[in-house]
């Protein structure tokens, strides 16, 4: 991918929904903003991560808070720019390259709008390889790169600059400010040099979202199996196929937690799979049997017929679904990575085993 135009957005946001692993928010608002910023003929230059100059000044542009709020209180449009400008003022340097914080969901398309408005290049990379709920859950944290200084901006022209002692504190303080700003705020964070970004970021993320999205759309066009197309494009394992027979939700400390029970059909007839979630899907476990995937690997629930990713908010009795498991970025599998985003961080009493090992015997897959 060398540039993004308005015509690429639908494909990209479909792939981003897949990589959201059940969360990340609806890319719709980000897509509308990007479409408006790009106009009919505009495009954003996309730079491959290895091609970024070492002395580039890179920063992420993202939105923090509740996607539901953003659907009502739409952005003014200047907030992402204001956040980057506030960060630049603090750094005393111009940001040269824009980056995505996460490739899953809303934050995949929003930086396209930011880059288009500023006329700056976007790097084909992200910091999660999926969607995660908190700022510190970013690969640069593993390299000791600070999320702060972080700048937050709202619709009214307020901006806040936070300098925190570590990335957990950045998350905590930024979350508080976000709630005061109306539960959704635009942020600029993780400023770093091109040389640092090449080590700390996950390269090829937008290309990946684009290729997953286009594989699903292409399969639909030629009446092929969109699930199989998505599986091949993402390097996923097919975990389970069946019908949703129960969805349980509860609010816990403000998080939408819950679980969904899927009764198997076809090759999985007779078995049941429980997927637990907290905004994103966290764990897939066979009923009365072993765990077959956990966070940080991606657990993606797709509508079997269309290959449309189903978010945790949309899960409903009767959906015919296929569950795929996608290996996460290898850095999440290090002890430090698992401390940030492993199953125990999310309160699950289970050790992480990479999905490849859980499915090593399963030669039919992947």
């Amino acid at each position: 991918m060398r540039s993004v135009t308005s015509g690429d957005l639908a494909t990209l946001s479909l792939g981003a929904s897949f990589l959201g692993a059940g969360g990340g928010g609806d890319p719709y608002i980000g897509t509308l903003m990007a479409r408006r910023a790009l106009g009919d003929k505009g495009s954003v230059t996309v730079v491959d991560l290895p091609e970024v100059p070492d002395d580039a000044i890179c920063a992420m542009s993202a939105v923090m808070g509740a996607p539901t709020v953003l659907v009502e209180k739409l952005p003014g449009g200047n907030e992402p720019i204001a956040a980057l400008a506030a960060l630049e003022r603090h750094l005393g340097k111009q940001i040269t390259h824009v980056m995505c914080a996460e490739v899953g969901g809303l934050n995949s398309t929003l930086p396209i709008a930011t880059a288009a408005q500023l006329g700056k290049p976007l790097i084909d990379c992200d910091a999660m390889g999926r969607a995660f709920p908190e700022i510190q859950m970013s690969t640069p944290t593993l390299y000791g790169i600070g999320a702060s200084p972080i700048a937050l901006a709202d619709d009214k022209g307020n901006s806040v600059l936070i300098q925190a002692v570590d990335n957990h504190w950045t998350e905590r303080l930024a979350r508080s400010a976000t709630i005061d700003m109306g539960a959704a705020a635009f942020i600029a964070l993780f400023s770093q040099t091109g040389a640092e970004a090449k080590r700390s970021m996950i390269g090829g993320s937008l290309t990946r979202a684009e290729s997953i999205g286009s594989a699903i759309l292409q399969a639909r066009r030629v009446k092929a199996d969109p699930i199989e197309a998505a599986r091949l494009a993402s390097g996923a394992y097919r975990l389970f196929r069946g019908k949703i027979v129960d969805v349980e939700r509860r609010t816990q400390a403000g998080f939408a937690r819950g679980s969904v029970l899927i009764e198997g059909n076809e090759v999985d007839a007779g078995a049941s799979l429980e997927v637990s979630f907290q905004n994103e899907n966290l764990k897939a476990q066979l009923a009365g049997g072993p765990t077959i995937a956990t966070v940080p690997d991606l657990i993606v629930i797709l509508e079997t017929e269309t290959g449309t990713p189903v978010t945790t908010e949309e899960l409903r009795y009767g959906f015919r679904v296929t569950v795929l498991g996608v290996p996460c970025d290898p850095r999440w599998r290090s002890p430090a990575g698992l401390e940030l985003v492993g199953p125990r961080y999310f309160g699950l009493d289970v050790d992480y085993v990479p999905i490849e090992e859980l499915h090593a015997q399963d030669t039919a897959h992947g």
């Binding site: 509740a66 209180k73 619709d155 019908k243």
Partner: protein
């Protein structure tokens, strides 16, 4: 004296009218829908009124497509002002961004962003500026614009600013018709604003249509009858209400049809399976109302947040073509309306679902002798395929694993037997071909409220009561007898990524007509 209600439903092909006394169908009529819609309605009404005493008619309920048609055809839409109470928020997505150009051109869209709006928790983004709004009113009046849509950020959470802005606009420009978004839609600014703009653009037409209906009522000699119109959620509104909220009539047809089926069968919590010539629709009734689809409806290519009934449609109907290749298949192609000439039992040459139903002894239509020679195994297999597919669709719509009652309607329903996997009972009511008009005739009045509330310690009950109270108030305002109003639906959805116990609560109420 018998107290009669007449229900009229305008469909794509036919306009149906039905006369109801209490819970009994007295008579009904089916007339072709006309291009002007009104003529078809008067035709159908005239026919049923020939069979009853006009002075016995208490109420006339009309489900019409006038307003949907006006939008789709970009016809009869008035030029409209658009006011957003948002401060500097929301400008990334201007009003009417994704609208089809023809409708946008018809509505014009004189857009004004003004101060105001709320945050999710009811705090003000900023106060409204009375002078600024008065200036907008005068500007609109000077441009000859007579309707305006006012939409405030998070107005479903707090409506004060929208109400104040409406008063100021009317004071500054007497005669200006103001539509407030909080009265029209739910959370989701773009969709609510779209519906509000369409509403404002339809109000002059609404006044003419309601006048025409009232004229027709008088000319048909039923001037004692109160006139109501069907709304998309299956409830009614009075004629005066319609002048102010024409947009609420959008997409009322499918809802009327499902509610009519429920009435005919006396079920309030059930599945409705409507078998037509080509397709079968399966929907779910909960407390007598259709479960809503999760996705919003497009009207003429414009996103709104009106909900259609949640339906799953499969390619099985009375005219579905049956084939015996490597395995027996039924549909999705169908002989459609040519059933009565192409099916074997009607002397045709195509093997259809109706033919196997007759051969299998499920139905008696046409000439059964013409299918006597059919292979017994083929008939059995084809009927199994039909049942399998319909049972599969039913299973997708159910909310739990237990079997539920099923109401079977539609001309094609003869292709199904008395048993269906997933169904606890199957009812095939009479008069199911005019279920839509019956649904209109028997509808109740409804109210709806949708808010984001923050639960503090122990205040959940209070918060829920506030939302249900709002829905009850609206139901009474729409004409319900206060003592009959009850809550039929209460939904709580926690907001993701927001650690502050904020929950979106929506409540729906219904009540009886006086």
């Amino acid at each position: 004296m018998r107290r009669l209600r007449i229900g009229v439903d305008v469909g794509g092909t036919n306009t149906d009218a039905v006369v109801i006394a209490g819970r009994r169908v007295i008579t009904f009529a089916k007339r072709p829908t006309t291009a002007d819609v009104l003529t078809g309605i008067v035709d159908a009404l005239s026919q049923v009124l020939g069979e009853v005493e006009a002075s016995d008619v208490d109420a006339l309920m009309i489900g019409t497509t006038h307003f949907t048609n006006a939008v789709v055809e970009a016809n009869d839409l008035a030029r409209t002002g658009v006011v957003r109470l948002a401060g500097s928020a929301t400008r990334a997505v201007p009003p009417m961004t994704d609208w089809p150009p023809a409708i946008r051109a018809a509505v014009g869209g004189d857009v004004h962003y003004v101060s105001g709006g709320y945050e999710y928790d009811g705090r003000q983004i900023g106060p409204i500026d009375f002078d600024e709004i008065a200036r907008v009113g005068r500007t609109l009046a000077a441009a000859g614009i007579t309707g305006v849509a006012v939409t405030g950020v998070f107005s479903p959470v707090r409506s004060d600013q929208e109400n104040q802005a409406a008063q100021v606009l009317q004071a500054a420009a007497p005669g200006l018709l103001v539509s407030r978004s909080t009265e029209i839609g739910r959370l989701g600014l773009i969709e609510r604003e779209n519906a509000t703009i369409l509403n404002a653009a339809l109000r002059p037409l609404a006044a003419r249509i309601v006048d025409a209906f009232e004229g027709a009522v008088a000319s048909l000699g039923i001037d004692d009858a109160t006139l109501y119109l069907s709304q998309n959620d299956g409830t009614l509104m009075g004629a005066d209400h319609t002048r102010s909220y024409p947009v609420a009539t959008f997409a009322s047809g499918p809802t009327n049809s499902m509610r009519g089926a429920a009435f005919l069968s006396d079920e309030t919590d059930c599945a409705v399976i409507d078998v037509g010539g080509t397709t079968t629709d399966v929907g779910i009734l909960r407390h007598g109302f259709p479960r809503e689809a999760p996705l919003a409806v497009d009207i003429g290519g414009i996103r709104t947040n009106f909900r259609m009934p949640d339906l799953v449609s499969i390619g099985i109907g009375g005219g579905s073509i049956v084939r015996d290749d490597e395995q027996v298949t039924v549909g999705p192609d169908s002989v459609g309306h040519r059933l009565t000439s192409e099916a074997l039992v009607f002397g045709g040459r195509t093997l259809t679902a109706t033919d196997v139903a007759v051969a299998g002894g499920l139905a008696r239509v046409g000439d059964p002798e013409r299918v006597e020679g059919l292979d017994v195994a083929l008939v059995r297999e084809a009927l199994a395929v039909i049942e399998d597919q319909v049972a599969g669709a039913l299973d997708r719509m159910k909310t739990g694993p237990d079997p539920i009652p099923v109401v079977l309607v539609g001309g094609g329903s003869i292709i199904l037997g008395d048993g269906l996997t997933g169904a606890s009972t199957i009812v095939k009511p009479d008069h199911s071909s005019v279920a839509n008009a019956i649904g209109a005739a028997l509808a109740q009045v409804g109210g709806h409220a949708d808010r984001i509330v923050t639960y503090g310690t122990g205040s959940r009950r209070e918060a829920l009561q506030k939302v249900t109270g709002e829905a009850q108030r609206r139901c009474i305002e729409a004409g319900a007898r206060p003592d009959s109003v009850k809550v039929v639906d209460l939904d709580e959805v926690p907001l993701a990524y927001l650690p502050s116990n904020a929950v979106r609560v929506s409540a729906r109420t219904v009540g009886d007509l006086p």
